[in-house]
């Protein structure tokens, strides 16, 4: 029977579709995701002063040219 239960009991109810009821792998993914956002925020904050406006120079390239 599908349910929406959630309990912090160290087990995963595999009938629950509650996103907070996570397996080990999902929990790892969620932790990585949250840490990733924090890292991105911190790195963005630290590098803000070093970022300068980009100067675009139009120049032809042969990278995708069919030779």
């Amino acid at each position: 029977m599908i349910n929406f239960d959630f309990a912090i009991d160290g087990k995963t109810d595999l009938m629950s579709v509650n996103p907070l009821e996570m397996t080990n792998f999902e929990m790892t993914g969620a932790i990585f995701g949250v840490l990733g956002i924090i890292i991105t925020l911190v790195v963005g904050r630290l590098s803000r002063d070093r970022q300068k406006p980009h100067e675009f120079v139009a120049r032809e390239t042969d990278v995708d040219a069919i030779l």
Binding site: N24, F25, G33, I37, D64
Partner: protein, 157 residues
């Protein structure tokens, strides 16, 4: 809230949403792959007999180990933000196989939801990095063999 602020807010949600998806999928696959070789958690088993037979056959053929190596490499690429489009392409067969073997066959709604979420995140990331895939949509193509100009690979790095 005016239109400009609205667009700015959506851009921030988009940026951090993509970051979350990349780290989530990367972390999930990296740990799932490592767990196969190191076994810090019990290896998940398919709940139905057909799925379990499939997994056992894949393990016998060493296909499972191959998939887990791909998970480790692609997961690390996603976490460390290196070769992300290549990692997404490498990982797609794994994500698709897991989706196709679980969603119609697994009797556990949580597993069905989990593999669907992974596939959706994978598709979001493919969409987010679409600029690297547009050349694949060329209608008319001409070969440019890599052996004619091997340095091209080095230049692409």
């Amino acid at each position: 809230m005016n239109e400009d602020e609205d667009a700015k807010m959506w851009r921030v949600i988009e940026k951090y949403g993509v970051v979350f998806c990349r780290y989530y999928l990367g972390g999930f696959n990296l740990v799932s792959g490592l767990n196969y070789f190191i076994l810090f958690w019990p290896q998940p088993r398919m709940a139905d007999s057909v799925g379990d037979t499939f997994v056992l056959a894949a393990m016998e053929l060493n296909l499972f180990a191959f998939a887990k190596v791909i998970e480790i490499i692609a997961g690390a690429c996603l976490v460390f933000n290196r070769f992300v489009p290549l990692a997404l392409v490498l990982l797609m067969p794994v994500t698709m196989n897991i989706f196709l073997t679980n969603v119609p066959w697994s009797p556990l709604p949580h597993i069905q939801l989990s593999v669907t979420r992974n596939l959706v995140m994978h598709l979001i990331l493919l969409g987010a990095y679409a600029n690297y895939f547009y050349p694949l949509l060329r209608f008319r193509t001409a070969p440019q063999p890599v052996w004619r100009n091997p340095l091209r690979v080095k230049r692409s790095l």
